[in-house]
């Protein structure tokens, strides 16, 4: 075997697979009886190459949550490999099934148009202090779009943005917000559209660098992962540091809340816990505000929300989400705190599932909103 596939097999250490099956044993999709097995996929692609029917289908089923990587004793980067295969299959016109008819990916591609002049900050309220130039920039992400797109879930997603500004103001920071910010490109990158991802990256880097900010804070686990891990390129340092809000607040020494401490559990976003190794910081902020009750899988072992790239949502993904809600309910807490708007949207959707209704009674709240509620 040679060509691009051989290069990918080496780069992601696929040939080092020991066939132990820990990946499949821990994979949430495999656990809900999806005919999905990271171990089998690696074997099939080595034996049959890109033409394997199994690989062509399953490469789009993987959520790239990274739990397999966490478990692999051999250091195989399976989710990275799957991600890297997607542009290859996309060129062969073997695409994945985009959730919501592809509308969200279209919204992201539209944002790659340099001629666009968006109104993405209408959620800011009088009293919230922001600036056009400064040291700290709040990269607010796609909150405005998601709020409208998922209106029927009655989630306060733009409230996450207001909460972050409020918290930063309390610390004496008037963050820069960019009217010209674009989607970070996470979902396009994980759907294999590297061309549009690069366009978004270029526009965002230009805008961030133009603001003079040296610190970029996000409340979205995905934005933080993308800016921190995918935006830097060899020979082109970012010129600023990227923090997820939880990490920034712990480093800034934010104190604890003083109100009552309701029982709550924390949904670790895969892009935060596994892709950035951040699970302590949100807990440091949570433990003084809630009585933290961990789910069966937490921290780097957490199950993800099922569909981190608006890709391939189906009845198996729904089962992953329902299993996750079951774990949440079993903690006995009354709140599920998240640190990624997408976790919140997906868990809210699963709560509306017409089947069994685990955890429907639990409140979903973003970490930023919980902290902003401190008096």
């Amino acid at each position: 075997m040679n060509g691009p596939l051989a290069e990918l097999l080496d780069r992601y250490r696929i040939r080092l697979c020991l066939d132990c099956g820990k990946c499949t044993g821990s994979c949430p999709l495999a656990r809900v009886e999806r005919d999905f097995s990271p171990r089998l996929l690696t074997r099939r692609i080595i034996q049959e190459g890109l033409g394997s029917d199994y690989v062509r289908e399953m490469v789009w089923a993987c959520s790239t949550c990274g739990l397999c990587n966490e478990r692999c004793p051999s250091g195989v980067d399976f989710s990275g490999f799957v991600r890297a295969l997607r542009p290859v299959y996309r060129d062969l016109e073997v695409g994945g099934r985009l959730s919501h008819g592809g509308a969200l990916q279209t919204l992201m591609r539209l944002q790659a148009d340099p001629g666009l002049s968006q109104n993405r900050l209408a959620w800011l309220e009088p009293g919230l202090k922001t600036s056009d130039q400064g040291e700290v920039l709040f990269f607010s992400g796609c909150l405005a779009y998601l709020q409208v797109f998922f209106a029927e879930f009655n989630l306060d997603l733009t409230g996450i943005g207001r909460a972050v500004v409020k918290i930063l103001n309390r610390l004496g920071i008037e963050p820069v917000l960019l009217a010209g910010e674009r989607c970070c490109g996470h979902d396009l990158y994980y759907a294999g559209d590297e061309e549009t991802f690069s366009a978004l990256r270029r526009l965002n880097l230009e805008a961030i660098r133009g603001s003079g900010a040296k610190t970029v804070v996000t409340a979205c686990a995905e934005c933080a992962h993308v800016l921190k891990n995918l935006y830097p390129e060899p020979g082109s340092p970012l010129g600023f540091q990227v923090f997820h809000l939880s990490q920034f607040l712990v480093e800034a020494g934010l104190g604890g809340g003083t109100g009552p401490r309701p029982g709550a559990t924390f949904q670790d976003p895969c892009r935060l816990a596994r892709y950035q190794r951040i699970w302590e910081a949100p807990r440091r902020l949570l433990e003084t505000r809630v009585e933290l009750k961990e789910m069966a899988h937490f921290g780097p072992a957490a199950w993800c929300c099922g569909s981190p790239a608006w890709l391939g949502c189906d009845r198996y993904v729904k089962r992953v989400q329902l299993e996750r809600l079951k774990e949440a309910r079993e903690t006995g807490g009354r709140m599920i705190v998240t640190a990624c708007p997408k976790c919140q949207i997906h868990l809210a959707c699963a709560m509306r599932d017409p089947g069994p209704k685990p955890a429907r009674e639990m409140e979903l709240i973003d970490l930023a909103c919980l902290i902003a509620g401190d008096e």
Partner: protein, 153 residues
Amino acid sequence: MPSWADGAERPRGVLVLLCNWEPYKAFQNLIRSGRALPPGFVPLTLPCSGRLDPALALAGLERGAEGIIVFGCREGACRHGPGPASAREEVERLEKLLDILGLGRERLRKVELGGEEADRLLAEARAFAGRLEELGSSPLARKEGSSRERSLG
């Protein structure tokens, strides 16, 4: 039908979404009377205006549509029941998305129409063409097709 192949002289494109029932009947009546939609208006039928989906509308904009006009049945005339209400909800969602994108909700127009109203269909389409003329080119449609997603086949 104008050619949408990539080129400097791209004609103005307007996506016309017609419910397959009353509005499509009006459209057929219009064609039968020897008239046509304004140049660049591309008609597509939907099984029901309630099937209006953000994915479809946004895909139209991405492929160069300057605007989208949706013709649906009136409340009570829907063959399926909840179509008009569902269409209104989707139009509202799309209007907000267009505002955030900075394209402006004026680029979307929703009209409820009966099958006998071919004249009104044409008048509404012409009025919309005039309105788009006033708005000027959409920032998305202005430049030449640059990716495979942009260029309506």
